[in-house]
């Protein structure tokens, strides 16, 4: 055994300019975030209809063309970022919160309770997300809230499984045994010693998961189960303009491309961070 660092780690320690794919993903993500926070920086009114310029192709004046009501598709895509991302973020927050809670429960309780909760995660993870969301919507009615809760519940096993696995490792760690020996209370053990040490992989997972949540949310609002027209949500825009596909592809394809660009950049950066992160932990 030599003491030299394994090659990948050594390479990583030298500051290198990021690869072009990652740089591009970072730029797309930065632009999307700006569109969420301050859409009027780039774009005009997403609801302003102009009946004289209906279904016009992309031009210098309308970068993404106009839709069936003469609304500027670029303006709508930019404003749609806030709608689509806020649904994704809210669903991910629910999934991460509930996932951490259930994962901790599974990892810290009795063997049989763990078995039941874990099988529950398996079943939930395997159940078709779209059907679960449809069940929620059938009970609670169409709307953004049902959509968010449904996606949150359906994606929580991702996080719960990781937290459970980490908990099973951490509870055996010497610092936990020491804390027990020093007479730390149960609550203190969980909050002060276990919880902070199981959360490590969660932020990066949540970043990749956010991409998936946005993808599913777009699919469900495409089915008309999320935000209703005329709100410029990406999936809803697509389904509104679908009837004009044969004469105006831009009005449906470009909002969809916005979803793809956002999800890809989240995934690329998430995976990049994940690989660096794993390298440091092993």
């Amino acid at each position: 055994m030599t003491l030299a660092l394994p090659r990948p780690v050594a390479r990583r320690l030298i500051l290198r300019p990021p690869r072009p794919g990652i740089a591009a993903a970072a730029v797309v993500l930065a632009l999307t975030l700006t569109a969420v926070v301050w859409p009027s920086l780039f774009a005009g009114d997403p609801l302003a209809a102009d009946p004289l310029h209906v279904l016009e192709g992309p031009s210098a004046q309308h970068w993404f063309g106009t839709d069936q009501l003469g609304r500027d598709v670029f303006d709508r895509v930019v404003h749609g970022a806030r709608h689509s991302l806020s649904i994704g973020v809210a669903a991910t927050v629910i999934a991460v919160g509930a996932g951490i809670l259930l994962g901790l429960c599974a990892g810290l309780t009795h063997k049989y309770a763990d078995e039941v909760i874990s099988r529950g995660f398996d079943a939930l993870a395997a159940f078709p997300l779209v059907l679960l969301a449809l069940l929620f919507i059938a009970i609670a009615g169409t709307g953004t809230t049902s959509l968010i809760v449904a996606i949150g519940v359906a994606t929580l096993p991702h996080y719960a499984r990781v937290v459970r696995a980490q908990t099973l490792i951490v509870r055996q760690a010497p610092y936990v045994t020491h804390a027990v020996a020093f007479g730390a209370s149960r609550g203190r053990l969980v909050l002060r010693h276990v919880l902070p040490n199981v959360l490590g992989p969660i932020p990066v997972l949540a970043m990749i998961g956010l991409g998936e949540a946005i993808l599913v949310a777009a699919g469900l609002s495409f089915l008309g189960l999320g935000p209703q027209p005329p709100s410029p949500e990406w999936g809803a825009m697509l389904s509104e303009s679908r009837g004009y596909l044969h004469i105006a592809w831009w009005a449906s394809v470009l909002p969809g491309a916005a979803v793809t660009a956002t999800v890809i950049s989240l995934t690329v950066i998430g995976r990049h961070l994940q690989s660096r992160f794993e390298g440091r932990h092993q």
Binding site: L134, L135, A138, G211, F222, L238, S252, G256, T260
Partner: protein, 304 residues
């Protein structure tokens, strides 16, 4: 072996029971009167109300209602749709064939494409290009893929019909749309598995025996790479079942997805619940098949 089978059966029954119970609780949790939820937007007459009360035993104690519901569900009787005036199993049975055709075609296409991609794109540049393409497939909403295919192949070139389910030609675009994201995910998993298998000592041994790289890949490494892919069968069934709802809508195909969407839109709860239970049945069947597939792929498991 017997223990494994027993465990499998017990888990399967437990999952089905959980799904049926969740569906039942969902019906109870729906706001408003339970009779109203079962009727949905169907005709609301005192006769139908009396029929629902006797069918669901609503005048009996809650435990009896629940047990009776489970007993009927176990026999395949999932109630009546008062909107469509037909038993639920009729409604689903009548629409399941086009959906099965679509799901099967998409699964075959997706798995084959993933195998081809993972095995043939081993070389550096091809591999990078293929990985990028897979990333795009995984990150693109399936309805967008469908819409792009429609606008190119149906509207521009008129090769495939725009909608409906008549003949094999109408199946091509929907199956490709549903299969592409599956291929994207599976190809990544398979490629990962191949990479890992080719680093194993047995790969070195095989090469030392003078096997060509292709033979090492296909005869030795692929079998190992298939194991993690089989684990994803459960995921695959979920993607197919969820995906058909969206794809049938994009391509205007009849099928289970359309039935489900209409049922959700009209509050036709018996149909919604039946679809949920059906999805659980599919999950149980697929995960049992996955376990059998492990035995088929890995002889070491057969021996123990």
């Amino acid at each position: 072996m017997i223990r494994a089978v027993t465990r499998r059966v017990v888990t399967g029954v437990a999952v089905l029971w959980a799904a049926a119970t969740a569906a039942y609780l969902a019906l109870l949790a729906a706001p408003g009167d339970i009779v109203d939820s079962i009727i949905g937007d169907g005709a609301d007459t005192p006769q139908i109300r009396a029929e629902i009360i006797s069918e669901w035993n609503l005048d009996r104690p809650a435990v009896v209602q629940y047990l009776d519901y489970l007993w009927r569900a176990a026999q395949g009787d999932l109630g009546r749709s008062y909107l469509l005036h037909r038993p639920v199993h009729d409604v689903i049975g009548g629409q399941i064939l086009p959906t099965l055709k679509l799901a099967a075609a998409a699964a075959v296409f997706g798995v084959l494409l993933a195998l081809i991609l993972a095995v043939t794109t081993r070389h550096r540049w091809v591999r990078r290009a293929s990985s990028t393409a897979e990333l795009f497939l995984v990150s693109t909403p399936p309805f967008l893929i469908g819409i792009v295919l429609l606008s190119v192949f149906s509207f521009r070139f008129g090769i495939f019909p725009v909608s409906g389910d008549r003949g094999g030609a109408a199946l091509v675009l929907p199956a490709i749309t549903l299969g592409l994201p599956i291929a994207g995910v599976l190809a990544q998993v398979l490629r990962d598995g191949l990479d890992r298998a080719l680093d194993e000592p047995f790969a070195v041994t095989a090469r030392a025996r003078g096997l060509r790289e292709r033979a090492v890949l296909i005869r030795h490494a692929l079998r190992h790479a298939l194991m993690p892919a089989v684990t994803m069968l459960g995921w695959l069934s979920g993607v197919l079942l969820g995906g058909v709802v969206i794809i049938e809508q994009v391509f205007g195909r009849p099928g289970l997805g359309q039935v489900t969407l209409q049922a959700v839109g009209n509050g036709d709860m018996p149909v919604v619940l039946a679809v949920v239970v059906l999805a659980a049945v599919v999950f149980v069947v697929i995960s049992t098949l996955a376990d059998l597939a492990y035995l088929l792929i890995d002889p070491r498991l057969r021996r123990s």
